[in-house]
């Protein structure tokens, strides 16, 4: 069973009724589960981000011509002196080195249709849970891994050396020459910058894709009072059983401590009895109901569990298995099977948890001699602490220690959170059922029907509960 505590928001206890209404406090309600609805949502997925490309436009030049004198005018017969002349054919300017951005492609999963998880109400009024897998598509995206960079570089001027001839420093003036040889010239071309190098930016817009997603709306329950006095619609989250099994039907039942129990069934209407402690429990070797005055301050089943767990830890069970089972209006807590002596005291150390019946505790020569000449008999015990407001009427026959071991292999290791939140009412009692087994040498273990051992005293349960916070 899955326990879900649900209180109507205004403090009123809510009753769920199916085809056959369940009466409580003269009020009757019906519940209707609305089917899951969906809506389409358009979503834009960016396939590649906007890019900025840059193009380097080199410097622009114009050619201009000029005339240079390669030989000065001079007198006939005069020797000219050679001279080297450096002319700039291209002025110094700046250039740009550009490194474009680097990109990579990745594949990303995009959920086009989410997995559905919805409840359906059957004709018999039970609830069934359905779940489907999501529809996931793969989208290829382009992402920038390294941005573009640019670098300005200086380009030096280009020069050219020309050999010219000039008159000597002591040459006679031209006007004194008998005959003047005219100057010789040469036309040269030079490049002048008209436009410096620059970077031109080109923007490339992002590339997008539109995906239509199917999104579920919150599923709701509509609760209507039979007389039609009010009608309320509530979201199913927080009401329906947590962690449901697909294919299993669930029906609610009301407990008298403001808790709703969701009872689970397989589709052929057989009760799903996974890991249940038998109810009513089998006849124990002995039982003892603890006085309810001890638990005056306990408010919830979770508080009760904490008290019991603290007491059990102090009794030496702290690192051992502990199993919980749901029982009507409460829970059963089973301790690890332990080996005890003839007075009900647990054996010491590891001997307590072993099923070796030949163990000698405490180790002594006398103990060994006794073991040598007498038949070995192991004595074992399991505590089943039942917290419930129902009467604990044990009835079934129970002889097999292996069944007790099965209890410790099933169940849960902790009290269900929803059950822990249930109230510990004045009607709740704590009953300790003790299953004692004897295992003689060469025989099968059997349940001791009427034990002479006082297990409650021998284990110190009552003392430890008081130490843990119970009222003496």
């Amino acid at each position: 069973m899955i326990l879900k505590c649900f209180k109507y928001p205004n403090g009123m206890l809510l009753l769920f009724s199916m085809l056959s209404s369940t009466a409580f406090a003269q009020q009757e309600y019906s519940i209707q589960l609305l089917p899951q609805t969906y809506r389409n949502v358009q979503e834009t997925v960016v396939l590649s981000p906007p890019e900025v490309n840059q193009v380097v436009v080199p410097a622009q030049f114009n050619s201009v011509t000029g005339v240079i004198v390669t030989a000065e005018a001079h007198c006939e017969g005069e020797s000219l002196v050679p001279k080297s002349l450096t002319i700039v054919v291209e002025a110094a300017h700046s250039g740009i080195e550009y490194y474009p951005a680097k990109y990579d492609t990745i594949t990303e999963n995009v959920t086009v249709r989410p997995g559905t998880a919805e409840w359906w109400q059957t004709e018999t009024g039970a609830f069934e849970y359905f779940a489907t897998e999501p529809d996931i598509r793969q989208v290829v995206k382009r992402i920038e891994t390294k941005p573009s960079t640019e670098r300005r570089i200086d380009i030096p001027a280009r020069t050219r050396d020309i050999s010219v001839r000039v008159r000597a420093a002591d040459a006679i003036p031209l006007s004194d020459c008998a005959r003047i040889i005219p100057a010789q010239t040469q036309v040269i071309s030079r490049r002048v910058i008209t436009e410096p190098a620059q970077v031109r930016t080109i923007s490339i817009p992002a590339k997008n894709a539109t995906i239509t997603r199917r999104v579920s709306n919150a599923q709701t329950l509509t609760i209507t009072e039979e007389s039609g006095a009010f009608r309320e619609t509530l979201a199913v989250d927080g009401i329906m059983p947590p962690n449901p099994f697909p294919g299993t039907l669930y029906k609610p039942e009301i407990e008298n401590n403001n808790c709703v129990l969701w009872k689970s069934f397989s589709k052929d209407n057989a009760t799903v009895e996974k890991g249940r402690f038998p109810w009513p429990p089998p006849n124990p070797s002995t039982e003892s109901t603890l006085p309810d005055t001890m638990f005056a301050g306990v408010e919830t089943l979770g508080d009760m569990n904490k008290l019991l767990a603290k007491a059990l830890d102090a009794m030496g069970y702290q690192d051992r298995r502990r199993k919980y089972y749901p029982v009507p209006h409460g829970f059963a807590l089973l301790t690890e099977i332990e080996q005890i002596d003839d007075t009900g005291m647990p054996l010491s150390g590891n001997a307590r948890w072993t099923d070796d019946i030949y163990v000698i505790d405490p180790p002594s020569i006398l103990g060994w001699l006794k073991a040598l000449v007498t038949k070995a008999t192991g004595r074992f015990r399991v505590f089943a602490l039942i917290v419930t407001s129902e009467d604990v009427n044990t009835e079934a026959e129970f002889t097999d220690r292996e069944l007790a071991l099965d209890w410790l292999n099933s169940g849960t290791g902790a009290l269900n959170r929803d059950r822990a939140a249930c109230q510990f009412t004045a009607a709740h009692r704590v009953t300790a059922l003790v299953y004692e087994f004897e295992h003689p040498e060469r025989e099968k273990p059997y349940l001791v029907s009427n034990t002479r051992i006082n297990h409650i005293a021998g284990s110190g349960l009552r003392t430890q509960l008081i130490n843990a916070g119970a009222t003496p």
Partner: protein, 140 residues
């Protein structure tokens, strides 16, 4: 007495004493355990078969010797090999010790499982003991 030989009667008596003491101790322990129900009859049977037949042979041989006619005068008493005597004593002591240890182990484990594990080993030693004792207790 020739070197390396011992009187046969001496060897027989010594061996019988060893078996009576060693076997007797195991028998006594087995008896106490059986009265408390520690062992099932099959276990007792197995252990008794390991002790009683050999003791029966020894006692029977000694009885026969005791009622036999005295040796003629001048006739040397029978002797037995010294080395073989020591081997027989050693094997017998070892075998009886094994049986006693097996019974002691029943304080901490199921004796059926112990016998299952070591039974064949004990039987093998028993065969050797039987062979060795045959030199002293079988009619010449």
């Amino acid at each position: 007495m020739t070197e390396g030989r011992l009187p046969a009667k001496y060897c027989q008596q010594r061996l019988t004493m060893l078996w009576l003491i060693g076997g007797g101790a195991s028998f006594l322990l087995l008896f106490i355990q059986s009265t408390s129900g520690k062992h099932d009859p099959p276990v007792s049977d197995w252990l008794l078969k390991a002790i009683i037949p050999t003791l029966t042979l020894m006692i029977g041989a000694l009885v026969t010797l005791s009622i036999a006619a005295k040796p003629k005068e001048g006739e040397a008493p029978p002797t037995s090999d010294k080395f073989l005597y020591r081997v027989a004593m050693g094997l017998s002591g070892f075998y009886l010790l094994l049986l006693f240890i097996l019974l002691l182990q029943s304080a901490s484990a199921d004796i059926n499982k112990i016998i299952e594990n070591v039974g064949l080993m004990i039987t093998s030693v028993q065969s050797l003991v039987g062979l060795a004792l045959g030199a002293f207790f079988v009619k010449r």
